[in-house]
């Protein structure tokens, strides 16, 4: 049975409340995991585990939160994503909104891509693929 976007959001919200110890009213679509919800690096892995359990899906590591792009010297130059890096990142994260990030693709701004909305879109995409 297909799950509505609202149902997906509700489940994601409960995952984030449990994983990050935040209140449910802090979990808005636009909230960033690191900046607004206080996630640390290890929390990202925890969130992946919890999403897998909550939605009964398999999320290959690096798919929701790509972690191999910053290690590639072709993709980063002077603390900014190169054109090639940005192209790769966009391909890896069809679930993220790049409109703000593209204006200033500093590596330090990358965490802003990881929003609640990106997770909801990612899960919705996954559920569509498997359903």
């Amino acid at each position: 049975m297909a799950m509505s976007r609202d149902e997906v959001f509700k489940k994601v919200e409960s995952v984030l409340v449990d994983a990050l110890g935040v209140d449910d009213d802090e979990v808005t679509e636009e909230a960033t995991l690191t900046g607004d919800l206080g996630a640390e690096s290890i929390d990202f892995l925890d969130i992946v585990f919890r999403l897998e359990k909550a939605f009964e899906i398999k999320i290959p590591r690096g798919e929701l939160f790509p972690d191999d792009i910053l290690n590639n010297p072709d993709f980063v130059e002077n603390g900014r994503m190169t054109t090639a890096g940005l192209t790769q990142l966009k391909r890896s994260m069809p679930h993220a909104n790049f409109s703000e990030f593209e204006k200033d693709p500093s590596v330090s701004r990358m965490p802003d891509l990881f929003t609640v909305k990106a997770i909801v879109d990612f899960v919705a995409l996954k559920l569509n693929q498997s359903g």
Partner: protein, 158 residues
């Protein structure tokens, strides 16, 4: 010094479940300060006891090839405290495990009564991951821990 907060395993089902026992004794130094005249087993050390129980379970599941490091306390809740003479039991279950990490659920018992829940996440730092600045040898699973498992004929690294 022995940083060991479990006394023995009483059950070990590889890849699934383990149960360890910790007898709280008045001779333990930390109980003299926590608190003077009112010795209580610190909750932080009960979390460590669960981490040791679950950590060995997780390590065994991958034949102790990796260093299993406590990465996150996902949830910890205690409804009662333990004092000298109490026997604490830590029961841990593997919830999920892969190359990168593992999650466990845990129940803490005071004698036979559940008094707490401790859910943890462990990270696998493999022996080649020297960029983390970790020592090359497996400093997590020392002989002291492995000795606890002798009664269960537990598989070790090849």
């Amino acid at each position: 010094m022995r940083w060991m907060w479990i006394d023995t395993f009483v059950a070990f089902e590889p890849g699934k479940r383990a149960m360890a026992v910790k007898n709280v004794s008045r001779s333990e130094d930390h109980l003299h300060d926590h608190f003077p005249g009112f010795p209580v087993m610190p909750a932080s050390l009960m979390i460590e006891g669960m981490a040791q129980t679950a950590g060995v379970l997780v390590g065994e599941a991958r034949r102790f090839r990796e260093k299993v490091l406590l990465a996150k306390i996902r949830r910890a809740r205690f409804d009662d405290y333990c004092t000298p003479g109490d026997r604490i039991r830590y029961e841990a279950f593997i919830e999920a495990i892969d190359e990168a990490a593992a999650t466990t659920r845990g129940i803490v018992y005071k004698e036979d009564r559940p008094i707490g829940e401790v859910d943890l996440m462990f990270s696998h730092a493999d022996n080649a991951a020297t960029d983390l600045g970790l020592p090359g040898h497996n400093f997590v699973f020392t002989d002291q821990f492995m000795d606890l498992l002798t009664a269960f004929n537990v598989r070790t690294a090849d």
